[in-house]
Symmetry: C2
Subunit: 373 residues, 2 copies
DNA sequence: TTGAAAGCGCTAACAG
DNA sequence: CTGTTAGCGCTTTCAA
């Protein structure tokens, strides 16, 4: 790569030197003889660099990169050789901006927490072999403070960076023209939008019945984000199971936990500080269940002896807390995989069912015990 | 938004009608009188839409969007009003292409598996409040088939989409001009590149000593990806501990497991099919440990009675397998957080230590038992 | 078979 | 204070 090009130390006219140590070109001040120095800047190599090196136009390089017809075989080979040698890779941004196609699918989340990362794992497995690549974008809106993060993320990425998106727990989404979106565990339950969720209602019934079967009657419920359909369904399942068992729900034992560790802690503390506190708590999800256990421990309550706790989701973390959390499993990785498959089919124009509901299951570990009377 | 603009049903000249039902504009064929129809396509709204609606130029809108000085307060307010009303959001691709600054940081991984998603969780927590957003990009190269995925991903995203990157287990990376990269668990160990890793050597010694303390002497090792420094250090730690204990390493018990479930299964099967099979296995990471347990079970071996297995990483999954896996903890989330912090500091030009090594710890669960003689 | 030129949506001089 | 202009790196007619 290091070399000298052109005339050197000529006595017969303007000296013309090109020192080539890479790609970049430094031009001499106007007063100097015509000397050009190219320095090795390990900078981003762009299509024009390839074109220049291969001695063709950028248009030709573009055709080679995209496998278009109408380029001589010899040219194709030469260009590919240069691409390889220079390590050229097309800029996603520029490519998408121009062509509106990137072969990249987006997974839009508020935050990378156990729920969304499980979906990510499932989607990541499923995407192999589809020809797409995966781009996960976090709006950074962990606290759910700014509603509409999903709309903003979508607007920033759609059209120029991704060909379609899976949105995790969206609250509001409008469908755009020519852009496919799949919602996982959405705000409104099955709407017009293609949707993946699990049977939250049946799962909540399962959880509540399990506590009832252990003899619990004063059962508290820490409900999730009130704006999520899944949270509403879990609460509804809880109430249904209680009603079916003929056990009245004490409304003072039902609190909004909010699906996050921080928000759940406050509600749990209130619940457990009650004069006649519950003997068991059905938390809206694993994170709030874990939070409840922490709060209980800090109040000197033993689990499951003094308090039984059951969660929902079965995120990996639920197995590693102490005691291991009894919970309701949602097949999160499978949900991620199904969402991705659905999105790919939608883009391909495959006719298929656009609402998928997966079953939930009771996972018994050690955080629940028989009621003591 | 629905309305009619211009002349309508005029008897005195060419009819000029604009029916405005949104943003899009449908023009009449040339032969028609001058009629323009705008139809409500819920399409991507771009800066020019905002400019047109607000009655200013795109330059002005850009200034408002980016908070530049030199715009009248009244104009700012009007433009912001329109932005809000139309739900405008700047395209990441176009923005980055032009300005080379996006306020987005990238986390580049080969695949979303337990290791990288734990890092993601840590980084996600750390990014809050920095003003950056997070974009995780999977090259889709799970099998490690195509080396150089990190270079390709970097080339596609850097410069136009992300302001800096954390690369997870990279094998080769060149530093580019004006672009900051932090490597987690890299190929070559501390090199010129800013690096986060954990004390793999000490962790491996810990693991091996634990097995030795249980009375094991025939200890097998399933080493990880040979191209990763972490794998080499773990094997070195294993050998050091064995040597220090005066126990010779049986080379037939040391095999390449490769850090993935599939690749480890074969190596584990070979190891366990040996006439004089090991009584304990130190797997290169949790995934290969879990795989080893599966293989052992399928061969009728009970864990930990017939075979002790210890892993490395302490991914969440290790707690939920049966029996729960004894392993060496790397503080993965903390590593992700440190990597992100380091990257932010690097971009901000903060002078600081660019090599961070975090401690490892033994986590005793149930997959190891005393050696039976 | 090739390349010149227009333009994707945006930003940054620079005039007015 | 505002708009005009010239690109960022790429794809895509279209003419040579």
């Amino acid at each position: 790569m290091l070399g000298i090009d052109g005339e050197f130390c000529s006595r017969f006219g303007p000296v013309s030197i090109v020192i080539d140590i890479g790609f970049e070109t430094l031009r001499k001040p106007a007063a100097w003889p015509s000397i050009v120095i190219r320095v090795a800047f390990p900078q981003r190599v762009k299509m024009s660099d390839v074109a220049r090196t291969a001695g063709v136009s950028v248009a030709t390089v573009s055709k080679v990169v995209n496998g278009r017809y109408g380029v001589a075989q010899a040219t194709v080979e030469r260009v590919q050789q240069v691409i390889h040698q220079l390590g050229y890779e097309a800029s996603l941004g520029a490519q998408g901006l121009r062509s509106h196609r990137t072969n990249v699918l987006g997974i839009l989340v508020a935050e990378f927490e156990p729920f969304s990362t499980e979906l990510l794992k499932g989607a990541s497995k499923e995407v192999a072999g589809t020809g797409y690549q995966l781009l996960a974008y976090s709006s950074g809106d962990g606290g759910g403070t700014s509603i509409g993060w999903e709309r903003r993320s979508l607007a920033r990425l759609s059209g120029t960076l991704i060909d379609g998106a899976v949105i995790v727990t969206p609250t509001v989404v409008e469908t755009k023209q020519d852009f496919h979106v799949v919602a996982v565990d959405p705000h409104t339950g099955p709407s017009g939008l293609p949707t993946i969720d699990s049977d939250n209602f049946a799962g909540a019934v399962l959880a509540t019945n399990y506590l009832l079967s252990l003899g619990h009657r004063r059962i508290g419920h820490l409900s999730g984000r009130p704006d999520l359909e899944s949270a509403r369904l879990r609460e509804a399942g809880f109430r249904r199971a209680m009603a079916d068992a003929g056990v009245p729900v004490d409304e003072s034992l039902v609190r909004i936990g909010g699906f996050r560790v921080e928000s759940a802690a406050g509600a749990a503390a209130e619940l457990l500080a009650l004069p006649d506190r519950p003997t068991a708590v059905f938390a809206g999800n694993d994170l709030s269940a874990i939070s409840t256990m922490d709060v209980a421990r800090s109040m000197g309550l033993a689990i499951p002896d003094d308090l039984s706790v059951i969660g929902f989701d079965n995120v990996p973390e639920s197995a590693s807390v102490s005691p291991p959390l009894t919970t309701i499993m949602q097949p999160l990785q499978q949900m991620g995989a199904e969402a991705l498959r659905l999105l790919v089919d939608l883009i391909a124009g495959v006719e298929r069912d656009t609402h998928i509901r997966l079953p939930t299951e009771l996972v018994v570990r050690s955080s629940c015990g028989p009621a003591r009377d």
